[in-house]
């Protein structure tokens, strides 16, 4: 557009106002992007194909109650189930409860077969399998505590009345989450006197379409027994934890709405002020022959430009900041990935553009309609 240089000049005429408006839009959209990313990260889906083949079997009454060890054979016999691995949340403490991380009693032989996204060197894995007091630790977690292969780590039991003295034998890598800690459930069972209990069973199915049928079969198999089961896909299991947070989603959505409305007010305010001050100028433009439509377009275009500039600073700033800062370390591994997606950025820019249009709309329309003679008479 050939009026672009003029629009730019008008926008930058009062540099301080331009900077302040851009900054306030930027700060608000920065927060918007952060909150939207929190929402999307909470519900982030595991992109690997294997994740779509996994089911988790737990006690129907609650996740905190155990299942009998003996269920394992029956689960393996269900048609469509390729592998079964037991996994029990140990909930052990490392020194004190500020160093929180997930630790599990597992079965090494089948663990990585059901979770192939986690990879480790074959020599290390064998060492882990052979040593009953060995531990398999995620690389991210090991880096946080400065652990190396061969280090001894003691986990204090909180749920179970025993402490586990372990030696790190292997480190594993996983794109999505490398902050886990796994040891032999055999070791825990022996320390507890062999009660034969498992927290959850994870099943690897042959094909995705079989999941619902397998889930039904398993739950029907154990209905009306002492330990009824609840079987669901890995994704449903993940989402049930998010549901535990209660109305977090609606809270975040309502805060985002308030944020957007506040930005709208602020920007509308500034732009309206600017347009009112320019009544004289607009009159001069009209005498020069510019049509009302063109003037309107220029004013709105300028407003959109300022708002989108703020939107770019805010959303790209958020993306860059969260890439540079490793949030998972600050939040103890709660958000292993915190990526402001392109989708969120586009949404933020769209909101910015809308804000530009809405804030400039009415004042610009009114200003363009003032009769020339009256506008020229205006002082200031």
């Amino acid at each position: 557009m050939r009026y672009l240089p003029f629009m730019l000049k008008s926008a930058l005429r009062n540099v301080r106002r331009f900077v302040l408006t851009v900054l306030s839009v930027a700060v608000s959209l920065f927060m918007f992007c952060t909150l939207m990313t929190v929402l999307s990260e909470l519900e982030r889906e595991n992109p690997s194909e294997v994740a779509h083949l996994r089911l988790v079997v737990r006690r129907a009454t609650s996740l905190a109650d155990p299942l009998p060890e003996g269920y394992r054979a029956k689960l393996a016999a269900v048609p469509g189930v390729r592998l079964v691995t037991p996994l029990t949340w140990f909930g052990g403490l490392y020194i004190d409860d500020r160093n929180f991380f997930a630790n599990f009693a597992s079965e090494p032989a089948t663990l990585l077969a059901v979770f192939p996204e986690s990879t480790t060197g074959p020599a290390q894995f064998e060492a882990f399998q052979r040593d009953r007091t060995g531990a398999l630790v995620g690389r991210g977690l090991a880096e946080q505590f400065g652990w190396k292969v061969g280090d001894r780590v003691t986990l204090l039991g909180t749920i179970y009345p025993v402490d586990m003295e372990l030696t790190i034998r292997a480190l594993y890598d996983n794109d999505l989450d490398d902050r886990g800690f796994f040891f032999h459930r055999d070791y825990l069972e022996e320390a507890l006197g062999r009660p034969g209990r498992v927290g959850t069973f994870w099943l690897l199915a042959e094909a995705p379409h079989q999941l619902p049928r397998i889930a039904e079969t398993v739950d029907a198999m154990f209905r009306n027994t002492d330990a009824e089961t609840k079987t669901e896909t890995e994704r449903a299991f993940q989402l049930s934890f998010v549901a535990m947070l209660g109305n977090v989603k609606s809270l975040i959505v309502s805060i985002c709405t308030m944020v957007v409305l506040t930005i709208l007010l602020v920007t509308a305010n500034t732009i309206a002020m600017t347009i009112r001050e320019r009544a004289r100028e607009i009159a001069v433009l009209k005498t020069l022959g510019f049509r009302r439509r063109t003037i309107l377009a220029m004013l709105i275009g300028e407003a959109v430009g300022i708002a989108v500039a703020g939107g770019l600073v805010g959303s790209l700033g958020a993306r860059v900041l969260y890439q540079a800062v490793d949030l998972s370390k600050l939040l103890q591994g709660f958000f292993p990935l915190f990526e402001v997606t392109l989708q969120t950025i586009c949404l933020a820019l769209l909101i910015a553009a809308a804000i530009g249009v809405l804030s400039a709309g009415i004042p610009a329309w009114r200003a363009a309609r003032i009769p020339v003679a009256e506008a020229l008479r205006r002082v200031g």
Partner: protein, 387 residues
């Protein structure tokens, strides 16, 4: 010479739209600030006001919460008759061994499942918790699969209304009473008889033991005695201390709240700055006239600064008014320590409202100081000539 306040007020009223929008912007920030604080305060208070000062709760050594603790009958037998434990009129020790379990129930609002804490109390358990009131029905009788439910839980979850039947682990139980536990953690619980609940959830041992001691000195002595006994492997604490530890689950919300409030405040400061800079620019001639009339630079600075404070004060008051309706609204979230749902209500206190108002004034001050300085530095001749 001071510029009269009327001047500032009039100016704000003349530029009505501008003033209104800035005030609304500040009000929104203050409302969010108060809302988030009310949320975290409500969550925190759900725990801190739980527990009687003279009570001692006993868990397994190393356990952090009742849900992962177990106390053997042997241990119970030993600690039951210790010196310093209060007794009933009949001479029985005021001791309540309790069983705690989690059950998955569906919420009424969104049909989503959540873990709910079920507590089996022994007969003395009711006497040990004095702030409780039965608002409907009666307390459960042992042997009849009866339950008593916190008021908010009855509203929030399916099948927990008075007279309704709810399925626990092995079968259906009837809700015979609703109690009001005020702002304590017990408001998020379902209560039944200890032995029946143990049977229902296949518990061989009790989860915890609650005892009343005769006074602070006795309490300290009992705690020491239990802790030092090597046979027992138990962890005794004063009941209020146990619940206070759990307030740490409110920490993430506090952090999030603080973060959001700070960012919004920064945005609002920019808004105030913008408005005031525009005001200064618009009134260039006026300021010069004021200076000609004899008002000094300091008075002008003070005047403009005061104007931003007035704007902010109006915004603060409006924000407080906007936030007030959420007081008392109850909601729930997860207590990650006990792994169960905790129901609590938004709590707005007068001091929170005051803090919100001062927060607004702070924003006004930060946003207004620079424009006020600019106003004070106006050069008379240049401003008078400006059109």
């Amino acid at each position: 010479m001071k510029i009269p306040l009327k001047y500032n007020i009039r100016n704000l009223l003349v530029r009505r739209t501008s003033t209104a929008m800035t005030v609304l912007g500040i009000a929104a920030v203050v409302a969010v600030f108060i809302g988030l604080n009310a949320l975290s305060r409500g969550l925190q208070e759900a725990f801190v006001s739980s527990g009687e000062p003279d009570n001692v709760i006993v868990l397994r050594q190393g356990a952090q919460v009742e849900t992962s603790s177990a106390v053997t009958r042997q241990g119970l037998h030993i600690i039951r008759y210790l010196d310093g434990i209060a007794a009933t009129e009949q001479g029985e020790p005021l001791v309540s061994p309790e069983v705690v379990a989690l059950v998955n129930l569906r919420r009424r609002a969104d049909n989503e499942p959540a873990n709910v804490l079920v507590r089996g109390l022994s007969p003395h358990g009711y006497a040990l918790r004095q702030g409780l009131r039965i608002v409907a029905g009666r307390s459960p009788r042992p042997g009849r699969r009866e339950l008593m439910v916190g008021e908010r839980m009855a509203e929030r979850f399916q099948d927990l209304g008075l007279g309704e039947r709810v399925r626990l682990a092995k079968g259906h139980w009837t809700v015979v009473g609703i109690f009001d536990a005020g702002r304590t953690a017990f408001a998020s619980e379902i209560w039944g008889d200890a032995l029946e609940i143990a049977e229902e959830f296949d518990r061989a041992e009790f989860s915890s033991v609650l005892m009343r001691t005769t006074g602070p000195a006795a309490q300290a002595a009992v705690i020491r005695r239990i802790r030092e006994d090597q046979r027992l492997h138990l962890k005794p604490l004063a009941e209020p201390a146990y619940y206070e530890e759990q307030t740490r689950s409110a920490a993430p919300i506090k952090v999030l709240g603080g973060f959001i409030a700070t960012l919004m405040a920064i945005g609002a400061c920019f808004a105030v700055m913008n408005t005031m800079y525009a005001a200064v620019a618009w009134r260039g001639r006026e300021i010069a006239t004021l200076q000609v009339l004899g008002f000094g630079r300091r008075s002008i600075l003070a005047s403009f600064f005061l104007e931003s404070l007035l704007l902010a004060a109006a915004g603060g008051l409006l924000g407080c008014a906007l936030a007030l309706p959420i007081h008392g609204i109850s909601t729930g979230t997860a207590n990650w320590r006990t792994f169960s749902e905790v129901v609590f209500a938004f709590r707005i206190t007068p001091d929170l409202l005051l803090r919100g108002f001062l927060f607004a004034l702070g924003m006004g001050a930060l946003g207004g100081i620079l424009p006020a300085r600019l106003a004070a530095r106006t050069v008379i001749v240049r401003s008078l000539r400006a059109v």
